[in-house]
Amino acid sequence: MHELLDGWTAPQAAADPDAYLRAILEWHFSPATGSPFWLERAPRLGFDPIADVKELGDLRRFPDLSDELRTVRAEDLVPTGAHGTPFEVFESGGTTGAPKRVVDGLSRGRNVDWVGRVLSEHGFPEEGNWLHVGPSGPHVVGRTIKHLAASRGGLCFTVDFDPRWVKKLLAQGRTELAAEYREYLLDQVELIVDSQDIRVLFITPPVLESLCSRASLYERVAQRLEGLMWAGTSVSPETLWQIENTFFPNASVAAIYGNTIMGIAPQRPRLDDDTQPCVFVPFFPQSVVEVIDAEGAPVAYGERGRVLMHLLARDMFLPNVLERDTAIRLAPAPGGTTDGLADIAPFQDGTGTKVIEGVY
């Protein structure tokens, strides 16, 4: 299946997002196809999601139920109409308390297929092995990278990487132990690149910085690398410049922004008049991302606001999720219709709960 939903290819959905939204709502709120999670909550919404929600703006009528994803039975999230498709469960990073769980069968694969096409625009190699130095296990990014490698005919090597453990160390100020953990990851990377032909690397910036500081390992990696994909924490402009020009001048470098709820927004290829080095574009309209001010109104282009996201996928519907991130909203690139996001930074709400960005 290469459609987002029966009868809807991605370009069709992007051309008429409101009609796609109505189809998604019909899927999730019809007794024959919807999930127990939504069918149980529908009567308490105070409106009829199929009859009353006509356009994307109406999504704001839904409550943000994402906190319930921390405790709800995961099988209740699976749409009845999707039974027969193998499903998997994933968890958020757990930066702010217990993780949120999401389920997915095919939807995120569509997002990843599109990311693969964007990577080609960046000049990523169409073949060759990948190395994923990032979370796997409950974290969806591990499957994403494997999917990208497989779709380009490469093998995907992985190392065990537990971001929650590192975040816990950092929260407790145990920075030396966190550094030791990074070195332990690099020991494993070293054993892979010693004998395997790695052409594409996924890595988080703190681990990449440590990799670049291990001269012999760095040289072996940089020699062969044709594609470098990074994500997880923000980097300073000079750090990005050093990555692209000093350390990996022969590789295509692209970042992805994403999370468990919304999927992946890849960096789009840079334009001559870009003022931001990394502009991320979500997989619209399966992922609808708004950048809003304190009152909930969209901020103007060029302004920073808080990220509000809606997941409109066949395998999961989740509206109105206010993220811990802020971003600068940018106008669509010429020829595009989807707003860009840039300079992602943690949201500071002033309540004193410190968000640990960590290595992921």
Partner: protein, 456 residues
């Protein structure tokens, strides 16, 4: 003073390297002094990589350093005159400008004799026919994390250059001016570019450089001592906690002398006296010191006659709270002499630190030896039975006593780094003498070379 902010960029292997990460360095009165390009970890790592591949361990000619010292003190460098340099450091750090002027001369003098300074700290190498001992560098690269309180500690990394090291300097956040000027002077004097990098940045950049270089030199407070103190590849220069022992009658001359030891250069140096241990009436001495120190003029640090350091306005409240906590339980001999306490605001909008004298009877408590970057002194009683115990952990101990046995025991005390006996300023020295152990001994090690003798 020229009010256009100066631009400071990282220097990699002698070449100025503009960074996209930038911050503004503001004077303590809020005006912008400099626009500083910061080195993130990867830029620092790029510098380490290039320095490492260029490192050849050759020592430049001593004349390079002598010339650099002259240029540092007298030349326009990076579009900055010596006077502008001194004003910037004073305005950024709050140190009285006179202290910076004296430091400039001190740096010039030290750079004029780096060879002597190094040799004086090492035993003369053994040499007879066929058998030679050479003092050689323990590594190729040194990371130096330098402080803000005073320019002269920068001499130590210049000495490492003179021994053949390549040096990566992480300047203090408030005084990048001194290292920048020194680097410019050294390059102008002929130092090969690949011997030096200057990498402004946060704490984590210092950590990274120390991890990546062969040896590290760190100036810092108790945190730095705790972090690096146990490493034999890192030399930590911590707080001075310098002390004086007074075992002589209380006279006007004694009070004048102690005032000078406590408050010279605004009390910002590590060898200014922070504690006075008194055999006799310690409260009376504390009163006399407070009375006399309170007369120091409250002038803006950049005034030629300034005697007191400034702090940022935003640190005034935290400083008051901190002083309240740290002196809790002690007697404050100074604050009642000032209209608004030791943290005071001048008419032209500076926040100055006026001298603070406190006394305590807890000779062995933590307060004795507490070092703060202004004329701050703790006065406590001392008796024969206390012996050297309350004088430990000191960069300098000044002994005003005729107890020769005490001087001998202080010299034998590892945590006392220098002993001054009699009415001599604590920082009195000769170039042949160590300031705090052997820097050259840390940077170099003896190595044997044995040659077969030609057949006779």
């Amino acid at each position: 003073m020229d009010t256009t902010p100066t631009r400071i960029d990282p220097v990699i292997c002698g070449a100025s390297t503009p960074s996209r990460d930038r911050t503004q360095l503001r004077a303590l009165d809020g005006t912008t002094l400099a626009e500083v390009g910061l080195a993130p970890r990867l830029l620092a790592q790029a510098a380490v990589g290039r320095m490492r591949s260029a490192a050849d361990r050759t020592a430049p000619d001593p004349e390079v350093f002598a010339e650099a010292g002259r240029l540092f003190a007298h030349a326009d460098l990076e579009g900055e005159s010596p006077q502008e340099y001194r004003e910037r450091v004073s305005a950024a750090t709050g140190a009285p400008i006179g202290a910076i002027e004296r430091a400039s001369r001190g740096i010039e003098e030290s750079l004029g004799r780096v060879d002597l300074l190094n040799r004086s700290e090492l035993p003369a190498p053994f040499a007879v026919a066929g058998f030679e001992t050479h003092w050689v560098p323990r590594g190729a690269l040194l990371a130096a994390v330098v402080p803000n309180n005073h320019p002269e500690p920068n001499v130590s990394w210049v000495r490492a250059l003179s021994l053949g090291y390549g040096v990566l300097v992480r300047p203090g956040s408030r005084d990048p001016f001194t290292p920048r000027r020194l680097v410019a002077a050294l390059l102008a004097a002929g130092l090969p570019g690949d011997k030096i990098s200057l990498l402004p940045g946060g704490h984590e950049i210092g950590e990274h450089l120390i991890t990546q270089a062969d040896l590290g030199l760190v100036y810092g407070g108790p945190d730095a001592v705790a972090r690096w103190g146990s490493r034999d590849d890192v030399l930590v220069r911590g707080p001075g906690n310098s002390k004086a022992l007074v075992d002589v009658p209380l006279t006007d001359a004694l009070v004048e002398r102690l005032v000078d030891w406590i408050a010279d250069d605004g009390g910002v140096r590590c060898n200014n006296i922070s504690a006075v241990l008194v055999h006799g009436d310690h409260v009376a001495l504390a009163e006399r010191l407070a009375e006399r120190l309170a007369e120091l003029p409250t002038l803006t640090p950049t005034h030629p006659d300034a005697a007191l350091p400034a702090i940022g306005e935003d640190t005034a409240e935290p400083m008051r709270a901190y002083l309240g906590r740290v002196t809790d339980g002690a007697i404050d001999h100074s604050s009642h002499r000032y209209p608004d306490g030791p943290v005071t605001r001048t008419e032209d909008g500076h926040t100055l630190m006026r001298p603070l004298v406190v006394s305590t009877t807890d000779t062995h408590g933590d307060l004795v030896g507490t070092e703060l970057p202004f004329p701050f002194v703790v006065v406590a009683p001392w008796e024969d039975k206390d012996d050297t115990a309350p004088l430990r952990d000191s960069l300098v101990v000044s002994v005003l006593s005729d107890r020769e046995d005490l001087i001998g025991r202080l010299l034998g005390e590892p945590t006392v780094r220098k002993v001054v006996a009699g009415p001599v300023r604590p920082w009195t020295s000769r170039p042949e003498q160590p300031h705090d152990g052997s820097l050259a001994g840390f940077l170099t090690e003896p190595k044997a070379l044995v040659r077969a003798l030609p057949p006779s």
